[in-house]
Symmetry: C2
Subunit: 225 residues, 2 copies
DNA sequence: TAGATTGTTAATCGATTAACAATC
DNA sequence: TAGATTGTTAATCGATTAACAATC
């Protein structure tokens, strides 16, 4: 059944499936089973079928899914039929790296505007774009920026978010390591690099602790005392 | 009750709480209620108390949590008592930006090694480190690298992951837009920038559709035909 | 027809949340 | 003691998974 509301957990996996389907299309494979798609996406087959069932009944029993057709349907659901312009605010190391990241343009997210509040940077070029002053953000027509990316220091991130919202931006990707607040109609996601390292650290350490735990539940290091 | 196993969802939030607690410590605030911590972390108070209850009973009824003490306990659980060295493989735009990212060192994750397979880059310096050839990865003693970061093109990401695992690295953060496989004892996380934009695009678009949906359930655009 | 594979059901598991007794 | 706030319970919700009838 092609239910109306797609679960959040499923939405998170759609880009992964799309990526795999593109790879399959490149190799010329015409159809794919949930089994193979699952294998390549790093999930299990039941989850793939359940996820896809939320989009519609696009598979053929006994055969699988048509790679191109499924690819198109997922892209449509993700709203990738048209390009979405991206503005990056904060031209430090990360901001410049993202501005130069070819993957954005290639995947339908061309970088259209770069901003900073540092006068020495304003007017210089990065990745073919002249850096504008943050104050010019309001001059952009509402529809011109689909997604705002924040790569500023945390101290100014909330202010930048406010300005983006004021300028009509309704989707924000925040790289600044701070919790920012936006109105309900704005979609916010964050990428916190240190956060990733800390969580990795936790599981790595726990894995080690588990490995050192004996069947009787006592930790190995206790024996070394 | 300080249960042994911390739920994944809680682990994901611990770094956020830690960040907030550090900010509070900086302002000199001695104790914090679950209410305030929740507000600052962007979650609800019941979730904060539930999360913290998995670590132990560190709060005081009627008072709240001691900022420094709780901060220390969370940091301990995340394994942040000692530093964890980070190696970055792939010295493109993103790799160089991460190498220069001061936030890593400041948070206990000093960048210790940089690698690339491009001979023209090997031997040059980035952020005070000489870039080494990928082939030298195996020469690193097991304990020297705590976390490997992959910022290569997707085509070589799996090979790089294999080499990191071979070199004894047990935690990997993958920025290459491809699903990579690692042995069970290795912890893997990924950051896919395009993925983030695609998911943002989905919700932004759906938000628009929701706004255009009338109370009776019909979409607004139907009326415009 | 026989084999393959989907789409869906239902059981299970984990996460969220409100409510409140415990207690500082 | 009275007010505040935790830690825990229990209800609810959403996600995962195995199993299998439907069907190509």
């Amino acid at each position: 059944m092609s239910g109306r509301r797609i679960p959040d957990a499923t939405v998170e996996r759609l880009p992964v499936y799309l990526r795999v389907l593109h790879d399959l299309a490149t190799t010329g494979q015409g159809t794919v089973s949930s089994e193979q798609l699952a294998e390549m996406a790093g999930v299990n087959a039941a989850k793939v079928r359940k996820d896809l069932s939320h989009l519609g009944t696009y598979g053929t029993r006994g055969v699988g899914y048509d790679v191109d057709f499924l690819s198109f349907e997922i892209a449509s659901r993700l709203g990738l039929a048209s390009e979405t312009a991206v503005a990056i605010v904060g031209m430090g190391n990360l901001g410049r790296a993202l501005a130069n990241h070819a993957g954005f343009r290639d995947r339908g997210f061309p970088v259209s505007n770069l901003y900073d509040n540092d006068e020495s940077k304003v007017g210089t070029e990065v990745a073919g774009h002249v850096i504008q002053h943050l104050d010019e953000l309001g001059a952009v027509a509402k529809a011109d920026i689909g997604i705002g990316v924040i790569t500023t220091p945390p101290e100014v991130a909330q202010d930048v978010a406010d300005r983006l919202v004021q300028a009509g931006v309704r989707a924000i990707l925040n790289f600044a390591p701070i919790v920012i607040a936006v109105p309900a109609h704005v979609t916010l996601r964050k990428v916190d690099l240190t956060h990733e390292l800390q969580v990795l650290n936790f599981y790595q350490q726990r894995e080690g602790a588990d490995a050192a735990t004996q069947p009787d539940g006592s930790a190995a290091w206790l024996r070394e005392i």
